[in-house]
């Protein structure tokens, strides 16, 4: 299954784009592994995954139409 991912802040610097399309991703755990395998530098940067504008704790199944985003630490205020 292919999913579309929005990428923000420092993570977009590392990945080199603010959007990413990945194939064969069934859940957020697999997503994390695939990302770190494709972009090893990511292993050194804390980030969270948001699905449907909610931050995922633990592992969560993904559907093709899910809005997925990679978020680095927040710096608002």
């Amino acid at each position: 299954m292919g999913i579309q991912i929005k990428v923000f802040g420092q993570l977009a610097d590392i990945i080199g784009s603010d959007e990413l399309q990945l194939q064969d991703i069934d859940d957020t755990g697999t997503l994390r592994e695939k990302l770190i395998s494709d972009f090893p530098k990511l292993a050194n940067y804390p980030f969270v995954v948001a699905v449907g504008k909610k931050i995922v704790n633990g592992n969560q199944k993904l559907n093709a139409d899910d809005v997925v985003a990679l978020l680095p630490p927040f710096a608002g205020g």
Binding site: K6, F8, G9, Q10, D13, A50, K53, A69, L71, P72, P73, F74, A75, G76, G77
Partner: protein, 148 residues
């Protein structure tokens, strides 16, 4: 409750003192208000590895941020006795000395105004997906992380 209506939180660039003055002036018609608490976040010229921050460039996951701001509003109105509240946050470049966050809470009594304002600021820092590039005088940058 018309007081709870949402307005756009994000503004382009710095938040000017005149804008803040206008917001304050608008509240003079709400004569049940006894206390306002206003928090302003100002950009510091921090020195990081020997280089001085001259500006922060803010970006956000805007759709999610708007949802989070809405949640924070709802929680503030549920937890405190408020007349009204307003949040404004900058996107784009804000120079050192300029203001990037404006939280404005009004209540009949000061305890609610103080409590809610602080709650809202802490929630914004912790919950809202906003990102900031600290830009140095030579235009290199590093990514800001909220700590304190």
């Amino acid at each position: 409750m018309s007081e709870k209506k949402r307005h756009k939180v994000f503004v382009n660039g710095a938040i000017g003192p005149d804008f803040i003055a206008e917001s304050i002036a608008k509240h003079s018609s709400k004569k049940n208000i006894g206390a306002h608490d206003i928090f302003l976040g100002q950009i510091r010229n921090d020195i990081i590895d020997g280089k001085t921050v001259q500006a922060i460039e803010y970006s956000a996951y805007e759709e999610m941020a708007e949802e989070k701001f809405h949640d924070i509003r709802e929680k503030a109105f549920a937890g405190f006795n408020l007349s009204c509240m307003h949040i404004y946050h900058s996107l784009g470049r804000v120079k050192a000395g300029e203001i990037s966050l404006f939280v404005f809470v009004s209540s009949q009594h000061r305890a609610d105004a103080f409590g809610a304002c602080r709650f809202i600021v802490e929630e914004i820092k912790a919950q809202v997906p906003i990102f900031g590039k600290e830009i140095f005088e030579d235009e290199t940058y590093s990514w800001k992380i909220n700590t304190e």
